[in-house]
Subunit: 387 residues, 2 copies
């Protein structure tokens, strides 16, 4: 059975380019070489960006080659790397791959001591990897990777068409690696920005909470409870398993009391019972939160959580007196978490209730203050000891 190298190459290049995880990519390439081209094994040395080292990413094959642990990386002063980094080595093989047999011939016939030294070192490396062909993978002038290939499975010698194929493959590999690297960089940048936003929300929430002397750690506890409830709900209904729902819930928990910044400290920290006017002020905090966040388009869902976390299932809550399923689910989740934490911590006007009393009270208020579904999930989590 002959192999259509052109077609193999097209297929390989095509599948490679949309793989944006360098590790997965390398595994794929090695697998392609070993299984389609039938070599005993293939190893790939991948350049570590920002480091002057090449790391062995995989070595697969029917036989399975045993690379000594210490040889799992090559520094740039390694003679095999040097061979391709310096123009010197490239010239010897006319920009082609490094062939073990040919290198041996040149070693015996060439008289240039420096070249002989380099070849000798490179050959030693080839022996360690039990490799007979080494193909460089360049992107522009940068050596991104080296493919190291074992013998052909049928014992024959590589032909020119096969060597051409490896060179073309190596060139595609370089492109795919570069593409994957660019993707990775962008993804890392995205992760960083996500973290930055979350950390900023956490920091601001903590700063605002610090004004209210009696709620130390409240935001963090509500966030933890809210996330547990949502995780449990996600098992039952995949809408809640969407990363975007989880993220919105997370941010909404962090920011649910952000509007307290607009409530005078004198009211927040008052030890005597509040007057009716003062209660009215306190009850403004959800809408103040909405005002702070409303210009941020990306926080549309989060704002619903902030706005309605004091609504009650029977319609007796504030600011709008929404009922039942009119209340956004994100707000109903925060409502349970918020109430449980308020009950179980000391407030200036009353001592903390015990965990059991609080759980019982929430159960009693199922369908009145709290959404029945979320109450049930909460109670289950309590029974399982998660809360």
């Amino acid at each position: 059975m002959t192999i259509n190298y052109k077609k193999e190459l097209e297929t390989a290049a095509k599948s490679m380019i949309l793989v944006h995880e360098p590790d997965v990519l390398i595994k794929m390439i090695a697998r392609t070489i070993v299984h389609r081209i039938k070599v005993s094994h293939a190893a790939i040395l991948l350049h570590e960006k920002d480091k002057s080292t090449y790391v062995l990413d995989i070595s697969k094959g029917q036989v399975g080659v045993k690379i000594p642990a210490g040889f799992a990386r090559m520094d740039t002063d390694n003679p095999l790397i040097q061979f391709f980094l310096t123009g010197k080595g490239k010239k010897i093989f006319n920009d082609g791959p490094f062939l073990h047999d040919k290198a041996r011939e040149i070693l015996n016939s060439n008289s240039d001591d420096a070249i002989k030294e380099l070849l000798k070192g490179a050959l030693q490396q080839m022996d360690i990897y039990e490799s007979v062909v080494c193909v460089p993978s360049y992107f522009r002038d940068e050596l991104l990777a080296l493919l190291l290939l074992g013998k052909k499975s049928d014992g024959s010698v590589f032909g020119q068409e096969e060597l051409d194929f490896f060179m073309a493959l190596a060139s595609d590999v370089a492109m795919a690696i570069r593409n994957a690297q660019l993707f990775r960089e962008l993804e890392n940048e995205l992760d960083k920005k996500k973290r930055l936003f979350f950390n900023t929300a956490v920091a601001f929430a903590a700063a605002i909470e610090a004004k209210d002397h009696y709620t130390h750690g409240h935001t963090n506890r509500v966030t933890a409870l809210g996330l547990e409830i949502t995780k449990k709900m996600a098992h039952q209904n995949k809408t809640y398993a969407e990363p975007v729902f989880m993220e919105n819930l997370h941010v909404a928990c962090l920011l649910h009391d952000i509007g307290k910044i607009g409530v005078p400290e004198s009211i927040l920290n008052k030890i005597e019972p509040l007057t009716q006017d003062e209660w009215i002020k306190i009850k403004e905090h959800p809408m103040i939160g909405v005002n702070i966040l409303q210009s941020i388009k990306e926080l549309e869902e989060v704002i619903l959580g902030v706005k309605y976390h004091h609504e009650r299932y029977d319609g007796s809550g504030y600011p709008e007196g929404l009922k039942g399923d009119q209340i956004p689910i994100i707000a109903s989740i925060i409502s349970v978490a918020d109430a449980f934490d308020a009950m179980t911590t000391n407030r200036v006007y009353r001592a903390a209730k015990s965990r059991e009393v609080a759980i019982n009270e929430i159960q009693q208020l199922r369908g009145r203050q709290f959404h029945p579904l979320i109450t049930d999930v909460f109670i289950t989590l309590c029974q399982e000891g998660v809360i």
Copy 2:
């Protein structure tokens, strides 16, 4: 001169894959076809994601084809699109390109009315685009694009090798488009997160500023001034032109007074002169800001701006009494912007100074309160009428 199609393809594919702007990509492909393969013109219809339409992205050539404006897009019910979307059309040309000549032959010989109708409509479209070959570009089962090619410049008919080349090119194009789309999505996501962070910082800064009744709009004005100063500095020294410096300065301006959240409202809004103890409280705001932000690793540089924006060049500022170049430049910039805005707005204890008086005062304090370089940049901006 014969063309090495295999090599052309390799070169084209290689340059394509790292172009992540679909528009640029399309231009590049059209250019490649027209100049290397020598056709009169090439047009590319690109699928608009989330819309059932294909948009003409470019039509280049030595002749330059005139596409009537109304034909710059094709909906999915267009017979040429239908031809490739339905398996029907694909079968007629054995998965190959749509050839004008061959379509005409089939039209005359085929007896299936539905097929004749489709072919007739498709041929009309080809005529509008003065196109003799139409090559579909699929990614998996999705029709991403159509390449429309004019006649060969030398008047001859396309040979099989050329048609094979176009099919292979179209397949690479699909991959490149898909890759570019994925990149774009990631970049959009990144932009969104950047905006989200900025908008959140703006919203919190505004909320905290709202507590201090006499500084309405202060943060926005300081930010605008700070950015103008930095832009001017960037012309003189490219360190300040780095996007990361500009971003840090921007965020630091937004957050410079964030620590005021920890200063009692009764002090911030006091109408009578402040006592010494109250001044001490006010002067804590930079360090309170540092405490709020310190856990956010990405804000390291920003924190320097927040911490030291009340330092003075002669060492008489707070919190640490740093001198001259010990003061981070980001803080020195905020210092000038902050002082100018404070001087030119009403405060509870004094009326606003005029623009001229304030500028003069800052000039007088050059090298004492303010960094000489930044004072000079500020004065220049005032003279130029920017401030």
